[in-house]
């Protein structure tokens, strides 16, 4: 379903909806995964991002996203300087990521305090994004919804606990996906919601014993 506002929009900092607006959204989503501004970031650019990323400001857009700037924020232009001022240390590399990836793909390795996260995401065109991996778990996240990322021990009842906590607060799920590397190990849960999770719902989920990590990420698209 194509919306009028997909065609007349988005309002964005140029020059390219895929190389700039989409790249910024990837940075914003990754920022959400570590719960705020990272201290260190390794930005690896793959494919067309690596070839023409600098001329399109892809580097600035991703770092702007890490600083919390939206795609229409003019501060994006100066984001590399702002990052240095804010104490965010960024390293850029070009990379040939293994496996099948969209031409406009980046891998972001972020550290914030003791936390570290590795995210792979692609910019699909017209500013739309798809996050395809978090910490090696395959995912499919568009960033178009408020999203909950839960990492929990793989045991029965976690989904029911999360779903119950959301239901009690009247929050509807648009989509969910659970995957794990091995039985009984860590499982990652992705919940895309129609409205942001409330503090009460988040507190209930965090209190579930098997939950190791909980992140609530605002919609970025």
């Amino acid at each position: 379903m194509v919306s009028l506002l997909d065609i007349i929009g988005p309002v964005m900092v140029g020059p390219s909806s895929s190389h700039t607006a989409g790249a910024c959204r990837l940075g914003l989503f990754a920022r959400g995964l570590v719960g705020g501004r990272p201290d260190r970031a390794l930005v690896e650019l793959h494919g067309s991002f690596a070839r023409t990323g600098q001329g399109h400001g892809t580097d600035r857009a991703i770092v702007g996203g890490l600083l919390g700037y939206a795609p229409d924020d003019e501060r994006l232009r100066g984001s590399l300087e702002h990052a240095a001022e804010a104490g965010l240390v960024v390293t850029f590399q070009t990379a040939k990521l293994r496996g099948e990836h969209h031409p406009n793909t980046a891998r972001l390795t972020l550290a914030r305090g003791a936390q570290e996260v590795v995210m792979i995401g692609s910019s699909l065109g017209a500013g739309r994004i798809l996050v395809t991996a978090i910490d090696g778990f395959p995912v499919e996240i568009t960033g178009a919804y408020p999203t909950l990322v839960v990492v929990a021990n793989d045991e029965p009842g976690i989904v029911a606990g999360v779903a119950g906590a959301l239901a009690r607060e009247g929050i509807n799920m648009a989509a969910m996906r659970v995957s794990r590397r091995r039985r009984g190990g860590d499982a990652i849960h992705i919940y895309e919601l129609d409205s942001p999770a409330t503090p009460a719902a988040l507190a209930t989920i965090e209190a579930i014993g098997a939950v190791r990590l909980l992140r609530a990420i605002d919609r970025v698209a």
Binding site: I7, I8, M12, G14, S17, G55, L76
Partner: protein, 307 residues
């Protein structure tokens, strides 16, 4: 939104409304956003377009690579036979917005960032020469959005998929419908303006130097505005294009699919592959890398890491 422009025109005629009003009603009927929210978003888009035109006409911008900038201001003081006409107003405004885009300024993708100059060029060019209230311009944007949505479904709005015909060509077709709408033409005239404009953009390749949205993109937004004006003028004169509009749009899609990958945003052909195009791109990219310093290593060191 509609997947046939002919069907949209029939619906508008049945209701006795314009394409812009039809687009607003159809969008509100999806229930995702209220009519008020949709109009507010389009009003904001209009304000951003105005801001980008003013910023670009100031003439002091350079693009990220330094290849383009300052030409909109030149055209704002035209010296040719069309000086001080709507035509040069449209060209200057289209250039202005695209120069802002190339300099990482704020624009409205319409339908894409690479084609973002055409629609504000035409609409704000028209608004500079006659009193057009914002409500009319918002209806113009809505009509343009309807046309873009049909092109998105039937063909493509991506240079990487369909060449420049899918970006500045589609933008020109959208601007033609918007122009007819705000000049109080009929939905049928808007439809023919789309056909008459798009036929002139068929086959247009996407061949940006170094893959950057700069050359020829900035100038193609101006020539896109010129095509839209031609389409508007012909349609308002009562000219009807003999091939139905949906078939013209389908043709654009078919040509895009048949287009060699060199001509689809890869900088492998066209102007990008000329000796000068290659040299300019090489020089600018070397400068960019130098400016970024050692931060960006061209090595493949990470290739061996887990992906």
């Amino acid at each position: 939104m509609f997947d046939s422009l002919a069907a949209a025109v029939e619906a508008a005629e049945r209701e006795g409304i314009g394409l812009g009003e039809l687009a607003l009603r159809t969008e509100a009927a999806t229930g995702v956003r209220s009519r008020e929210e949709i109009e507010r978003a389009l009003r904001r888009a209009l304000e951003v377009m105005r801001g980008a035109v003013a910023r670009g006409l100031a003439g002091d911008l350079r693009s990220v690579s330094g290849l383009v900038g300052g030409d909109a201001a030149r055209l704002a003081r035209p010296r040719g036979p069309l000086a001080d006409t709507l035509f040069t107003d449209v060209l200057a405004r289209a250039l202005a917005v695209q120069e802002v885009n190339a300099a990482m300024g704020v624009i409205v993708a319409a339908p894409t960032a690479g084609g973002a100059g055409v629609l504000p060029g035409v609409l704000l060019g028209l608004a500079g020469r006659r009193p057009l209230p914002d409500e009319a311009l918002v209806r113009g944007l809505a009509a343009a959005g309807l046309v873009g949505a049909v092109v998105a479904v039937r063909a493509s709005l991506s240079g990487a998929e369909g060449g420049c015909q899918a970006e500045t060509g589609a933008a020109a077709a959208m601007a033609a419908a918007a122009g007819v709408e705000v000049l109080d033409g009929t939905p049928r005239q808007a439809m023919h303006a789309v056909s008459l404009t798009l036929q002139g953009a068929l086959g247009l390749v996407c061949d940006p130097l170094g893959g950057l949205v700069e050359v020829p993109c900035v100038y193609r937004n101006a020539t896109g505005g010129a095509m839209a004006l031609a389409g508007i003028e012909m349609a308002l004169a009562g000219i009807e294009f003999p091939i139905p509009v949906d078939e013209v749009i389908d043709t654009m899609g078919e040509i895009g699919r048949a287009m060699d990958v060199r001509y689809r945003e890869t900088a492998g052909g066209g102007l990008a592959a000329t000796p000068t195009g290659r040299r300019l791109a090489r020089e600018r990219l070397v400068q960019l890398k130098a400016r970024a310093g050692a931060a960006m290593s061209p090595s493949e060191t990470s290739a061996a890491r887990r992906s």
